[in-house]
Protein backbone atom coordinates (compact mmCIF):
# COMPACT_ATOMS: atom_id res chain seq x y z
CA UNK A 1 0.00 0.00 0.00
CA UNK A 2 2.86 2.32 -0.70
CA UNK A 3 1.00 4.22 -3.40
CA UNK A 4 -0.76 7.41 -2.39
CA UNK A 5 -4.34 7.26 -1.25
CA UNK A 6 -6.29 10.34 -2.29
CA UNK A 7 -9.67 10.74 -0.62
CA UNK A 8 -12.25 13.03 -2.14
CA UNK A 9 -15.65 14.02 -0.82
CA UNK A 10 -18.28 14.87 -3.40
CA UNK A 11 -20.78 17.05 -1.59
CA UNK A 12 -24.11 18.44 -2.61
CA UNK A 13 -25.08 21.24 -0.26
CA UNK A 14 -28.38 23.00 -0.86
CA UNK A 15 -31.73 21.65 -1.95
CA UNK A 16 -30.82 20.93 -5.57
CA UNK A 17 -31.83 17.36 -6.35
CA UNK A 18 -30.22 16.95 -9.78
CA UNK A 19 -27.41 14.58 -9.01
CA UNK A 20 -26.36 13.30 -12.41
CA UNK A 21 -23.41 15.68 -12.55
CA UNK A 22 -22.35 14.77 -9.01
CA UNK A 23 -22.59 11.05 -9.69
CA UNK A 24 -20.74 11.27 -12.99
CA UNK A 25 -18.11 13.27 -11.11
CA UNK A 26 -17.92 10.61 -8.37
CA UNK A 27 -17.48 7.81 -10.88
CA UNK A 28 -14.92 9.69 -12.92
CA UNK A 29 -12.92 10.41 -9.75
CA UNK A 30 -13.06 6.76 -8.79
CA UNK A 31 -11.83 5.72 -12.22
CA UNK A 32 -8.98 8.16 -11.77
CA UNK A 33 -7.94 6.03 -8.79
CA UNK A 34 -9.27 8.16 -5.94
CA UNK A 35 -11.34 6.99 -3.01
CA UNK A 36 -14.60 8.85 -3.31
CA UNK A 37 -17.18 9.48 -0.63
CA UNK A 38 -20.49 10.90 -1.75
CA UNK A 39 -22.80 12.68 0.67
CA UNK A 40 -25.98 12.36 -1.37
CA UNK A 41 -28.26 15.32 -2.04
CA UNK A 42 -29.76 17.97 0.22
CA UNK A 43 -26.91 18.47 2.65
CA UNK A 44 -26.40 21.37 4.98
CA UNK A 45 -22.93 22.95 5.06
CA UNK A 46 -22.44 21.49 8.55
CA UNK A 47 -23.23 18.00 7.31
CA UNK A 48 -20.72 18.31 4.48
CA UNK A 49 -18.05 19.66 6.80
CA UNK A 50 -18.48 17.05 9.52
CA UNK A 51 -18.36 14.35 6.88
CA UNK A 52 -15.12 15.75 5.47
CA UNK A 53 -13.56 15.83 8.94
CA UNK A 54 -14.60 12.29 9.84
CA UNK A 55 -13.49 10.88 6.51
CA UNK A 56 -10.27 12.94 6.67
CA UNK A 57 -10.46 13.73 2.97
CA UNK A 58 -7.91 15.66 0.98
CA UNK A 59 -10.40 17.48 -1.22
CA UNK A 60 -14.08 18.42 -1.17
CA UNK A 61 -15.80 18.82 -4.54
CA UNK A 62 -19.00 20.80 -4.11
CA UNK A 63 -21.74 20.77 -6.72
CA UNK A 64 -24.83 22.92 -7.01
CA UNK A 65 -26.89 23.69 -10.07
CA UNK A 66 -29.53 26.04 -8.80
CA UNK A 67 -27.64 29.19 -8.00
CA UNK A 68 -27.34 28.77 -4.25
CA UNK A 69 -23.55 28.38 -4.48
CA UNK A 70 -22.70 31.91 -3.44
CA UNK A 71 -24.53 31.56 -0.13
CA UNK A 72 -23.95 27.90 0.58
CA UNK A 73 -20.39 27.08 -0.53
CA UNK A 74 -18.67 29.64 1.72
CA UNK A 75 -20.67 28.25 4.63
CA UNK A 76 -18.97 24.91 4.07
CA UNK A 77 -15.59 26.62 4.38
CA UNK A 78 -16.75 28.31 7.56
CA UNK A 79 -17.92 25.05 9.02
CA UNK A 80 -14.55 23.51 8.20
CA UNK A 81 -12.82 26.38 9.94
CA UNK A 82 -14.95 25.85 13.02
CA UNK A 83 -13.75 22.28 13.08
CA UNK A 84 -10.12 23.22 12.53
CA UNK A 85 -9.89 21.64 9.11
CA UNK A 86 -9.90 24.49 6.63
CA UNK A 87 -6.71 22.98 5.28
CA UNK A 88 -8.89 20.69 3.20
CA UNK A 89 -9.15 21.84 -0.41
CA UNK A 90 -12.62 22.98 -1.44
CA UNK A 91 -13.53 23.01 -5.15
CA UNK A 92 -16.72 24.45 -6.58
CA UNK A 93 -18.51 22.92 -9.56
CA UNK A 94 -21.84 23.57 -11.20
CA UNK A 95 -23.65 26.40 -12.88
CA UNK A 96 -21.36 29.14 -11.60
CA UNK A 97 -21.00 32.39 -13.51
CA UNK A 98 -17.64 33.96 -13.98
CA UNK A 99 -18.49 36.96 -11.84
CA UNK A 100 -18.88 34.64 -8.85
CA UNK A 101 -15.40 33.16 -9.16
CA UNK A 102 -13.56 35.90 -7.31
CA UNK A 103 -16.17 36.24 -4.53
CA UNK A 104 -16.03 32.49 -4.00
CA UNK A 105 -12.23 32.44 -3.93
CA UNK A 106 -12.18 35.30 -1.51
CA UNK A 107 -14.33 33.24 0.79
CA UNK A 108 -11.95 30.33 0.76
CA UNK A 109 -12.93 28.23 -2.25
CA UNK A 110 -9.72 27.01 -3.85
CA UNK A 111 -10.88 26.67 -7.43
CA UNK A 112 -14.07 27.08 -9.42
CA UNK A 113 -15.09 24.84 -12.30
CA UNK A 114 -17.98 26.48 -14.08
CA UNK A 115 -19.73 25.88 -17.41
CA UNK A 116 -17.50 24.39 -20.07
CA UNK A 117 -15.48 22.33 -17.61
CA UNK A 118 -15.87 18.68 -16.64
CA UNK A 119 -14.59 16.00 -14.28
CA UNK A 120 -11.35 15.77 -16.19
CA UNK A 121 -10.43 19.31 -15.15
CA UNK A 122 -11.15 18.49 -11.53
CA UNK A 123 -9.12 15.29 -11.74
CA UNK A 124 -6.15 17.11 -13.21
CA UNK A 125 -6.37 19.79 -10.56
CA UNK A 126 -6.36 17.21 -7.79
CA UNK A 127 -3.47 15.32 -9.33
CA UNK A 128 -1.49 18.50 -9.57
CA UNK A 129 -2.28 19.86 -6.14
CA UNK A 130 -2.67 16.84 -3.93
CA UNK A 131 -0.43 14.29 -5.54
CA UNK A 132 2.10 16.82 -6.83
CA UNK A 133 2.37 18.34 -3.43
CA UNK A 134 2.83 15.04 -1.73
CA UNK A 135 5.42 13.89 -4.21
CA UNK A 136 7.37 17.06 -3.51
CA UNK A 137 7.40 16.43 0.22
Amino acid sequence: MADKVVRVLVGKPGLDGHDRAAKVMARALRDAGFEVIYTGIRQTPAQVAQTAVQEDVDVIVLNNLTGAHLEVFPLVVEELKKRGRDDIYVLATGVIPFEDVEPLKEKGIDEVFGPGTGPIHVINWIKEHVLGEKQGE
Binding site: R30, V36, G84
Partner: protein
Protein backbone atom coordinates in the same frame (compact mmCIF):
# COMPACT_ATOMS: atom_id res chain seq x y z
CA UNK B 1 -8.97 30.07 -14.38
CA UNK B 2 -5.60 28.96 -13.16
CA UNK B 3 -4.13 32.28 -12.26
CA UNK B 4 -4.54 32.15 -8.51
CA UNK B 5 -3.46 28.69 -7.60
CA UNK B 6 -3.80 28.15 -3.93
CA UNK B 7 -1.48 25.82 -2.18
CA UNK B 8 -2.57 24.47 1.13
CA UNK B 9 -0.59 22.55 3.60
CA UNK B 10 -2.41 19.51 4.79
CA UNK B 11 -2.89 19.47 8.53
CA UNK B 12 -0.08 17.60 10.24
CA UNK B 13 -0.51 16.26 13.75
CA UNK B 14 2.21 14.76 15.86
CA UNK B 15 1.72 11.32 17.30
CA UNK B 16 1.37 12.94 20.69
CA UNK B 17 -1.42 15.22 19.50
CA UNK B 18 -3.22 12.47 17.67
CA UNK B 19 -3.24 10.31 20.75
CA UNK B 20 -4.28 13.06 23.10
CA UNK B 21 -7.11 14.25 20.87
CA UNK B 22 -8.21 10.74 20.07
CA UNK B 23 -8.76 9.71 23.66
CA UNK B 24 -10.67 12.92 24.25
CA UNK B 25 -12.99 11.83 21.49
CA UNK B 26 -11.97 14.73 19.26
CA UNK B 27 -13.03 14.00 15.68
CA UNK B 28 -10.03 15.48 13.97
CA UNK B 29 -7.63 13.42 16.04
CA UNK B 30 -9.76 10.32 15.73
CA UNK B 31 -10.11 10.68 11.98
CA UNK B 32 -6.40 11.24 11.62
CA UNK B 33 -5.50 8.22 13.73
CA UNK B 34 -7.62 6.10 11.39
CA UNK B 35 -5.96 7.66 8.35
CA UNK B 36 -2.52 6.96 9.73
CA UNK B 37 -3.38 3.34 10.23
CA UNK B 38 -5.04 3.07 6.86
CA UNK B 39 -2.22 4.78 5.05
CA UNK B 40 0.35 2.73 7.00
CA UNK B 41 1.77 5.86 8.50
CA UNK B 42 1.03 4.91 12.07
CA UNK B 43 4.09 4.27 14.09
CA UNK B 44 4.23 1.18 16.17
CA UNK B 45 4.50 3.35 19.26
CA UNK B 46 1.14 5.01 18.53
CA UNK B 47 -0.47 1.60 18.23
CA UNK B 48 1.19 0.46 21.42
CA UNK B 49 -0.15 3.44 23.30
CA UNK B 50 -3.64 2.85 21.99
CA UNK B 51 -3.66 -0.81 22.94
CA UNK B 52 -2.16 -0.11 26.34
CA UNK B 53 -4.69 2.62 26.95
CA UNK B 54 -7.57 0.34 25.99
CA UNK B 55 -6.32 -2.46 28.20
CA UNK B 56 -6.26 -0.23 31.23
CA UNK B 57 -9.45 1.71 30.89
CA UNK B 58 -12.72 0.72 32.48
CA UNK B 59 -15.14 1.80 29.79
CA UNK B 60 -15.79 -0.95 27.31
CA UNK B 61 -17.37 -0.34 23.93
CA UNK B 62 -19.81 -2.85 22.54
CA UNK B 63 -18.37 -3.91 19.23
CA UNK B 64 -21.12 -5.09 16.93
CA UNK B 65 -20.61 -6.56 13.48
CA UNK B 66 -23.28 -6.25 10.82
CA UNK B 67 -22.71 -8.39 7.77
CA UNK B 68 -24.74 -9.78 4.91
CA UNK B 69 -25.14 -9.83 1.16
CA UNK B 70 -25.36 -6.65 -0.91
CA UNK B 71 -28.62 -4.77 -0.66
CA UNK B 72 -30.13 -6.65 2.29
CA UNK B 73 -30.39 -3.37 4.14
CA UNK B 74 -27.32 -3.31 6.36
CA UNK B 75 -26.78 0.41 6.01
CA UNK B 76 -30.45 1.17 6.51
CA UNK B 77 -30.51 -0.99 9.61
CA UNK B 78 -27.42 0.70 10.99
CA UNK B 79 -28.98 4.12 10.39
CA UNK B 80 -32.13 3.34 12.35
CA UNK B 81 -30.10 1.58 15.01
CA UNK B 82 -27.84 4.60 15.34
CA UNK B 83 -30.83 6.91 15.43
CA UNK B 84 -32.37 4.99 18.31
CA UNK B 85 -29.09 4.79 20.22
CA UNK B 86 -28.42 8.49 19.76
CA UNK B 87 -31.81 9.22 21.26
CA UNK B 88 -30.65 7.40 24.36
CA UNK B 89 -27.74 9.82 24.55
CA UNK B 90 -25.15 7.24 23.58
CA UNK B 91 -22.06 7.77 21.43
CA UNK B 92 -21.74 5.65 18.32
CA UNK B 93 -18.80 4.98 16.05
CA UNK B 94 -19.34 3.23 12.75
CA UNK B 95 -16.96 1.74 10.22
CA UNK B 96 -18.09 0.59 6.80
CA UNK B 97 -15.92 -1.32 4.39
CA UNK B 98 -16.65 -1.30 0.66
CA UNK B 99 -14.76 -3.01 -2.12
CA UNK B 100 -12.32 -1.08 -4.27
CA UNK B 101 -11.48 -1.46 -7.92
CA UNK B 102 -8.52 -3.80 -8.27
CA UNK B 103 -7.54 -2.02 -11.46
CA UNK B 104 -7.33 1.62 -10.45
CA UNK B 105 -7.41 1.33 -6.67
CA UNK B 106 -10.27 3.82 -6.76
CA UNK B 107 -13.42 3.26 -4.80
CA UNK B 108 -16.87 4.70 -4.37
CA UNK B 109 -17.77 4.66 -0.71
CA UNK B 110 -21.49 5.17 -0.43
CA UNK B 111 -22.60 3.51 2.76
CA UNK B 112 -22.84 6.68 4.74
CA UNK B 113 -25.43 8.25 2.42
CA UNK B 114 -28.03 6.24 4.26
CA UNK B 115 -27.40 8.01 7.54
CA UNK B 116 -26.24 11.40 6.40
CA UNK B 117 -29.51 12.81 7.70
CA UNK B 118 -28.38 12.09 11.26
CA UNK B 119 -25.53 14.59 10.88
CA UNK B 120 -24.30 16.97 12.09
CA UNK B 121 -24.09 15.24 15.41
CA UNK B 122 -21.23 15.28 17.91
CA UNK B 123 -22.13 11.80 19.16
CA UNK B 124 -22.02 10.05 15.83
CA UNK B 125 -18.88 9.12 13.97
CA UNK B 126 -18.78 7.35 10.64
CA UNK B 127 -15.78 6.30 8.63
CA UNK B 128 -15.78 4.67 5.20
CA UNK B 129 -12.94 2.42 4.18
CA UNK B 130 -12.20 0.61 0.98
CA UNK B 131 -11.07 -2.96 1.13
CA UNK B 132 -7.99 -1.83 -0.74
CA UNK B 133 -5.04 -4.07 -0.32
CA UNK B 134 -6.96 -6.70 1.59
CA UNK B 135 -6.08 -10.25 0.78
CA UNK B 136 -9.05 -12.54 1.22
CA UNK B 137 -10.67 -9.97 3.42
CA UNK B 138 -7.77 -9.90 5.80
CA UNK B 139 -6.11 -6.63 6.37
CA UNK B 140 -4.81 -5.78 9.77
CA UNK B 141 -5.72 -2.11 9.57
CA UNK B 142 -9.38 -2.72 10.10
CA UNK B 143 -8.72 -4.47 13.44
CA UNK B 144 -6.57 -1.63 14.58
CA UNK B 145 -9.26 0.78 13.45
CA UNK B 146 -11.61 -0.86 15.92
CA UNK B 147 -8.99 -0.37 18.63
CA UNK B 148 -8.84 3.31 17.71
CA UNK B 149 -12.60 3.67 18.08
CA UNK B 150 -12.40 1.90 21.43
CA UNK B 151 -9.79 4.39 22.56
CA UNK B 152 -12.28 7.13 21.69
CA UNK B 153 -14.67 5.43 24.12
CA UNK B 154 -17.75 5.05 21.96
CA UNK B 155 -20.59 3.21 23.62
CA UNK B 156 -21.27 1.27 20.48
CA UNK B 157 -18.90 0.46 17.68
CA UNK B 158 -20.68 -0.88 14.63
CA UNK B 159 -18.91 -2.41 11.68
CA UNK B 160 -20.59 -2.96 8.33
CA UNK B 161 -19.01 -5.38 5.90
CA UNK B 162 -20.22 -7.18 2.84
CA UNK B 163 -20.32 -10.78 3.94
CA UNK B 164 -21.32 -13.49 1.56
CA UNK B 165 -18.78 -16.21 1.97
CA UNK B 166 -16.12 -17.56 4.29
CA UNK B 167 -13.64 -15.04 3.01
CA UNK B 168 -15.46 -12.02 4.25
CA UNK B 169 -16.38 -13.46 7.58
CA UNK B 170 -13.37 -12.16 9.42
CA UNK B 171 -15.76 -9.66 10.86
CA UNK B 172 -16.70 -12.18 13.54
CA UNK B 173 -13.14 -12.09 14.79
CA UNK B 174 -13.29 -8.34 15.15
CA UNK B 175 -16.53 -8.04 17.05
CA UNK B 176 -18.01 -8.94 20.39
CA UNK B 177 -21.22 -9.86 18.63
CA UNK B 178 -22.00 -10.37 14.98
CA UNK B 179 -25.32 -10.24 13.21
CA UNK B 180 -25.93 -11.65 9.76
CA UNK B 181 -28.58 -9.67 7.93
CA UNK B 182 -30.74 -11.48 5.43
CA UNK B 183 -33.70 -10.30 3.42
CA UNK B 184 -36.29 -11.77 1.13
CA UNK B 185 -35.15 -11.58 -2.45
CA UNK B 186 -34.81 -13.60 -5.61
CA UNK B 187 -33.32 -16.68 -4.01
CA UNK B 188 -30.72 -14.73 -2.06
CA UNK B 189 -32.46 -15.71 1.11
CA UNK B 190 -31.40 -19.32 0.86
CA UNK B 191 -27.84 -18.50 -0.01
CA UNK B 192 -26.94 -17.72 3.58
CA UNK B 193 -27.81 -21.26 4.63
CA UNK B 194 -25.24 -22.66 2.28
CA UNK B 195 -22.56 -20.11 2.97
CA UNK B 196 -21.45 -21.54 6.29
CA UNK B 197 -21.40 -18.02 7.64
CA UNK B 198 -24.46 -18.84 9.63
CA UNK B 199 -22.57 -21.11 12.00
CA UNK B 200 -20.25 -18.31 13.01
CA UNK B 201 -22.62 -15.50 13.85
CA UNK B 202 -24.56 -14.87 17.04
CA UNK B 203 -27.65 -13.55 15.45
CA UNK B 204 -29.61 -13.63 12.25
CA UNK B 205 -31.54 -10.47 11.49
CA UNK B 206 -34.27 -11.01 9.00
CA UNK B 207 -34.80 -7.56 7.54
CA UNK B 208 -37.50 -6.26 5.19
CA UNK B 209 -40.18 -8.23 6.98
CA UNK B 210 -42.59 -5.60 5.69
CA UNK B 211 -42.34 -7.08 2.20
CA UNK B 212 -45.06 -9.47 1.08
CA UNK B 213 -42.38 -11.93 -0.04
CA UNK B 214 -41.03 -12.13 3.51
CA UNK B 215 -43.23 -15.10 4.39
CA UNK B 216 -41.17 -17.29 2.09
CA UNK B 217 -38.00 -16.39 3.95
CA UNK B 218 -39.72 -17.01 7.26
CA UNK B 219 -40.63 -20.46 5.98
CA UNK B 220 -37.06 -21.18 5.06
CA UNK B 221 -35.86 -19.99 8.44
CA UNK B 222 -38.41 -22.14 10.25
CA UNK B 223 -37.45 -25.31 8.49
CA UNK B 224 -33.84 -24.46 9.19
CA UNK B 225 -34.35 -23.98 12.91
CA UNK B 226 -36.30 -27.21 13.09
CA UNK B 227 -33.36 -29.05 11.57
CA UNK B 228 -30.50 -27.44 13.42
CA UNK B 229 -30.37 -27.53 17.17
CA UNK B 230 -27.71 -24.99 17.95
CA UNK B 231 -28.74 -22.26 15.59
CA UNK B 232 -28.12 -18.56 16.09
CA UNK B 233 -30.98 -16.48 17.47
CA UNK B 234 -33.31 -14.91 14.95
CA UNK B 235 -34.86 -11.47 14.99
CA UNK B 236 -37.33 -10.33 12.39
CA UNK B 237 -37.58 -6.64 11.72
CA UNK B 238 -38.08 -3.95 9.16
CA UNK B 239 -35.42 -1.29 9.08
CA UNK B 240 -37.49 0.61 6.57
CA UNK B 241 -40.55 0.78 8.81
CA UNK B 242 -38.41 1.04 11.93
CA UNK B 243 -40.14 -1.98 13.38
CA UNK B 244 -38.32 -4.30 15.74
CA UNK B 245 -35.39 -1.97 16.33
CA UNK B 246 -35.93 -1.63 20.07
CA UNK B 247 -36.11 -5.39 20.37
CA UNK B 248 -32.82 -5.67 18.52
CA UNK B 249 -31.14 -3.19 20.84
CA UNK B 250 -32.49 -5.02 23.85
CA UNK B 251 -31.22 -8.30 22.47
CA UNK B 252 -27.77 -6.87 21.83
CA UNK B 253 -27.52 -5.31 25.28
CA UNK B 254 -28.65 -8.44 27.07
CA UNK B 255 -26.48 -10.75 25.05
CA UNK B 256 -23.47 -8.52 25.50
CA UNK B 257 -24.01 -8.36 29.25
CA UNK B 258 -24.38 -12.13 29.35
CA UNK B 259 -21.10 -12.56 27.47
CA UNK B 260 -19.43 -10.16 29.83
CA UNK B 261 -20.78 -11.87 32.93
CA UNK B 262 -19.92 -15.40 31.91
CA UNK B 263 -16.44 -14.45 30.76
CA UNK B 264 -17.03 -15.18 27.07
CA UNK B 265 -16.45 -11.61 26.11
CA UNK B 266 -12.95 -11.65 27.48
CA UNK B 267 -12.30 -14.92 25.67
CA UNK B 268 -13.59 -13.51 22.42
CA UNK B 269 -11.46 -10.44 22.77
CA UNK B 270 -8.42 -12.60 23.46
CA UNK B 271 -9.19 -14.55 20.32
CA UNK B 272 -9.45 -11.32 18.44
CA UNK B 273 -6.08 -10.26 19.75
CA UNK B 274 -4.48 -13.55 18.71
CA UNK B 275 -6.12 -13.38 15.35
CA UNK B 276 -4.74 -9.92 14.83
CA UNK B 277 -1.22 -11.04 15.71
CA UNK B 278 -1.61 -13.71 13.05
CA UNK B 279 -2.98 -11.14 10.66
CA UNK B 280 -0.01 -8.91 11.05
CA UNK B 281 2.38 -11.80 10.60
CA UNK B 282 0.66 -12.95 7.45
CA UNK B 283 0.56 -9.43 6.16
CA UNK B 284 4.19 -8.66 6.84
CA UNK B 285 5.42 -11.97 5.55
CA UNK B 286 3.20 -11.65 2.50
CA UNK B 287 4.75 -8.34 1.67
CA UNK B 288 8.24 -9.73 2.19
CA UNK B 289 7.59 -12.63 -0.13
CA UNK B 290 6.22 -10.27 -2.73
CA UNK B 291 9.35 -8.17 -2.47
CA UNK B 292 11.91 -10.88 -2.78
CA UNK B 293 10.10 -12.56 -5.61
CA UNK B 294 10.05 -9.24 -7.42
CA UNK B 295 13.72 -8.70 -6.82
CA UNK B 296 14.49 -12.15 -8.13
CA UNK B 297 16.12 -13.22 -4.88
CA UNK B 298 14.53 -16.65 -5.00
CA UNK B 299 14.35 -19.28 -7.65
CA UNK B 300 10.77 -19.22 -8.94
CA UNK B 301 11.13 -22.80 -10.09
CA UNK B 302 11.86 -24.09 -6.60
CA UNK B 303 9.13 -25.77 -4.55
CA UNK B 304 7.22 -23.21 -2.45
CA UNK B 305 7.67 -25.42 0.62
CA UNK B 306 11.42 -25.41 0.18
CA UNK B 307 11.50 -21.63 -0.06
CA UNK B 308 9.21 -21.26 2.96
CA UNK B 309 11.42 -23.46 5.14
CA UNK B 310 14.67 -21.94 4.05
CA UNK B 311 13.37 -18.42 4.48
CA UNK B 312 12.00 -19.05 7.93
CA UNK B 313 15.28 -20.65 8.92
CA UNK B 314 17.10 -17.64 7.62
CA UNK B 315 14.90 -15.49 9.86
CA UNK B 316 15.95 -17.60 12.79
CA UNK B 317 12.73 -19.53 13.25
CA UNK B 318 12.77 -23.10 14.36
CA UNK B 319 11.12 -25.30 11.79
Amino acid sequence: MRNKVSKKKRLVLTEEEVFRRLIQGDEVGLARALSMIYREEATSSLLSRIYAYNADKKHKSKVIGITGAGGVGKSTLISVLAEALLKKGLRIGIIAVDPSSPKTGGALLGDRIRLQHLFPNPNLFFRSFSSRGMVGGINPFIFDAVAVLEAASFDYIIIETLGIGQDEIDIVHMCDLTALVIAPGLGDDVQFLKSGVIELVDLIVMNKSDLPTASRTVGILNSYTRMVENHPDIIKLSAYKKQGIMELIEYIDNKWQELLDNGSLEKRRMERWKFQVGNWMRYIIGKRIHKFVEKGEVNPKASPYEIAISTLKEWGCEV
